[in-house]
């Protein structure tokens, strides 16, 4: 297969397994490109991309921007905090105004789940979801799987546990979809209050004991507590959370195998993961960041080639 089955990247839910493989194969080529002394290719010189962020972001925004620039696209950056959104403009109006400046693709992060899907139905541009509320964050899941594939050779058949605030995490949901699609075994682990009620319907295992989860897995993806989305108290104290669900060196060393540690960032050092674990050789956290640029280049390249 040489092209994506979709026109937008709204979520992993809408992708086929072959799409993921195509994105990975393309990312392999871009990874070689970004390790050259001149890291830029001219493919997208006639494409303009708007990065619209209605929510804060460091890594994702930088990563998208760098990916776009490495492909020679023209880039517009827009942050809601400094815009007319504050003056009462609707999402469609904002985006249509940007599109009348002849923009071909929109990369959007928004606090509301489904914002990307809504937009794709109303505006004529290719939409890339860079995170919509607690719904999906497809490029993060793609780069996570890509990093597992790079480290362990394959994703199929691997045991992956996602630890932490599953309820509020778009990274968790996208990762579950992506990993299941590629044939991995997935478990989630966290306090019961932070696990979604219908998590079983996604075909994943549930474990509330961190040690058992780590003993089972090949890869542990550690998530942060999404404090900005916690409207009520889901656990007594951060200290108690750390005691039950935080990974430290002692716990890792007591396992009878060496597991891979991942984290999508931003890390709350000393809460879900201690510094010595985050910086250990078992951790592939910085590889994830590097792969993020290659994956986003692949996604943008493949979507842009469908713009006529």
């Amino acid at each position: 297969m040489s092209e994506l089955s979709v026109k937008h990247l709204l979520g992993i839910k809408y992708l086929k397994e072959t799409d993921i493989q195509l994105i990975f194969e393309t990312a392999d080529h871009f990874k070689e490109v970004i390790n050259r002394s001149i890291k830029k290719v001219p493919s997208l010189r006639d494409i303009t991309i708007a990065n619209i962020f209605f929510e804060n972001s460091t890594r994702t925004k930088l990563s998208f921007e760098l990916a776009e620039k490495r492909l020679s696209a023209d880039v517009l950056n827009f942050s809601a905090s400094q815009s007319s959104v504050k003056k009462g403009e609707t999402l469609i109006d904002t985006v249509n105004n940007i599109l009348s400046m002849k923009v071909d693709m929109v990369v959007m992060r928004h606090p509301n789940p489904g914002a990307g899907i809504f937009l794709s139905k109303h505006v004529n541009a290719s939409i890339v979801n860079a995170g919509d509320g607690a719904h999906e964050h497809p490029t993060q899941a793609l780069l996570d799987s890509y990093s597992i594939r790079e480290k362990l050779g394959d994703v199929a058949g691997k045991n992956v546990v996602i630890v932490g605030d599953i309820l509020h995490s778009r990274v968790a949901l996208s990762n579950i979809f992506a990993l299941k699609l590629q044939g991995a075994n997935v478990k989630v682990c966290g306090p019961k209050t932070l696990l979604p009620k219908y998590i079983d319907s996604l075909g994943v295992g549930v474990e509330t004991n961190l040690r058992k989860a780590l003993e089972w897995c090949d890869v542990a993806n550690m998530l942060r507590i999404q404090n900005e989305r916690l409207d009520i108290s889901y656990f007594p104290t951060t200290r108690e959370y750390t005691q039950q669900f935080g990974v430290n060196k002692k716990l890792l060393d007591s396992l009878d195998k060496e597991i891979v540690i991942m984290h999508p960032g931003p890390i709350n050092r000393g809460v879900e993961i201690t510094s010595d674990v985050a910086d250990s050789k078992q951790s592939i956290i910085l590889n994830q960041v590097e792969n993020g640029v290659a994956i986003r280049m692949a996604v943008i390249y493949l979507l842009a080639s469908k713009i006529k």
């Binding site: 040489s2 080529h29 050259r36 493919s43 006639d46 080639s305």
Partner: protein, 179 residues
Amino acid sequence: MSEKVLLSSKEINIILHRLACQLLETHLNFENTVLIGIQPRGKFLAQRLTKILQEEYNVKHIDVGFLDITFYRDDFRRGDKTLEATKTKIDFLVEDKNVVLIDDVLYTGRSINAALTALQSFGRPKDVELLCLIDRRFSRHLPIQPNYRGRQVDAINDEKVKVMWEENDGEDIIYLVNR
């Protein structure tokens, strides 16, 4: 669709030996020369020439690389299909080297143009030459000519030159295909 044999395995072999000798004449021991095959089809030609130079003309070491030009092509989004990339493998610097770009068929010259742009990502070569097995003359869109050519062919627009390699397609043979 009809196929006509343009060159047989024996003829290809003779041409490959001549091209190897011509390279040898200019580059002697290949100390400061690198061969770069343009992916996907120039790779086989580059490998074949290297093999002849090493095994039959005792050249000790030749740097050979493969260059994918997909992301440098000028027809992105102009066709129906997504352009699919292949692997680039250049494990050396081309800075101050004599580079010989190698491709099987030279047609419009656009691939070579893209290859010249792509090559810049790997440094500033001393000079760049072009070797092609088949030169379809009178069909260039750009001012690009080969330094070494296997055979010159007059092929009209709806004809296609198909180069087959033993290691990939089972036998060495070149067809002129009428579409």
